[in-house]
Amino acid sequence: MKKLINDPADVVAEALQGFEAAHPDLQVDHHNKIIYRGDAPRSGKVGLISGGGSGHEPMHGGFVGLGMLDAACAGEIFTSPVPDQMLAATKLVDGGAGVLHVVKNYTGDVMNFEMAAELAAAETGARVVSVVTNDDVAVQDSTWTAGRRGVGVTVLLEKIAGAAAEQNRSLDEVADVARTVNANGRSMGVALTSCTVPAAGKPTFELGEREMELGVGIHGEPGRQRLPMGTAREIAALLVEPILADLPFSRGDNVIAFVNGMGGTPLIELYVMYNEVRQILNGRGVQIARSLVGPYMTSLEMAGASVTLLKVDDDMVSLWDAPVRTPGLRWGI
């Protein structure tokens, strides 16, 4: 394992120190490993918090700021944060209008956020609503699994619900927007290489020089199937077709098309992938209202990409276009 780190046990704490120094307009609670807005809590505004294991940067801490999250809890690498963090974050951002917890659907994340909500209910008057994202079509959604994983849609949801909260919509309204985004978004990813968890010291899985892992999880969880490596064109079809079939997306639908880099794949390849995705959508008469191309929800140094399609209406598009000022996403301000 070769990484630009010191002791694997200190990676998250030291990255937070670097983050704090690089982004003076944001605050960091180092004890609780929370990144939060300097102006939190904003009275009358719904507080938006999320969190999860580290190693997915810029998600979630890089999405804290005006128009997106009010706070993000950083767990150990690929490990959900603990309830104490989420409770502290909830208190930090509660401006009286309630707090929305954005939770990716993983057993650990769900259980820790659940405990945090229980504690918040007991310790504070804060009204907390949780929205769980589960957009990964690589996992079959059945009582036989922990349900679909929350992946790319989480990024789009944090932007769109964040904009709704910035408009001072009520907690129920913001939660509604968030649920609508999750309900209308689908994703799937592929890995060309594994990632290496610093504390583990070796790759989570092994892939041959001509293999790829289709439907991989963002924590390096093995995916749907291992296939021989393909061209960008073939891989785009393997990712987009199951997404289109699942919602389903149909001719005339407007979508936000998101091609996400897993961390180790260069931007030039993501543009090649986006070019393939866009051509498939054009062929189906699916209109791309907006797009996002880049490494926004990564898995350490894993090489690969994921595609997320979100069916949008005008309200969602204007919320997407609304100003956002975070280290990871910024426009209009």
Binding site: T79, S80, V82, G108, T145, A146, V197, A200, G220
Partner: protein, 211 residues
Amino acid sequence: MEDDVTTAALLAWVRRFADLVAANRDYLTQLDSAIGDADHGTNMDRGMRAAVAAVEEAAPATAGALFTKVGMTLVSTVGGASGPLFGTFFLRMGTSFGGAEAVSPKDFAAALHAGLDGVVQRGKAEAGDKTMYDALAPAVTALEQALDEALPLPAALAKAHAAAVAGRDATIPLLARKGRASYLGQRSVGHQDPGATTVALLLEAAAGTAT
């Protein structure tokens, strides 16, 4: 009563469990790499180190205080799935002991059962889901039976440990239906569950302590 379980013995159990987790840290993480995300050993080791430090500092006088402290520390330091699960397990044991000064073997078994119930409430796992439950549930049953057959605690815990090991090994052929491993479907078959492996270490520590 002479065969009561002392708080010191229970503390020794917790310590021994922490040592076993530390010794098996990389092995547990390795198991989690195959069907999870390669952090179970790191998670449990971080948590049990913190738990031992916490109880050493707080020096709880009663079993109830001891396990409540261990549970709270795990919840606050582990994260992931195992944090709430193992945390709840110990918290419920603590509640079960309450403020009692003396802990009889039956009290111990009852507390273990309460811990199991807590795990089920938190994680909704059922037998055969390929989780820590599949090692913990048989261990609790074996302990209760052995005590009903009036075996002394050490012998009973030896049986409980054997049951946990059997339950752990039995997870290998199972298809995971809970947790991260469930994403794998058929590909989860043939791998031993990390959490069940940790539970076997927990019972190994108990059997090794009660002698």
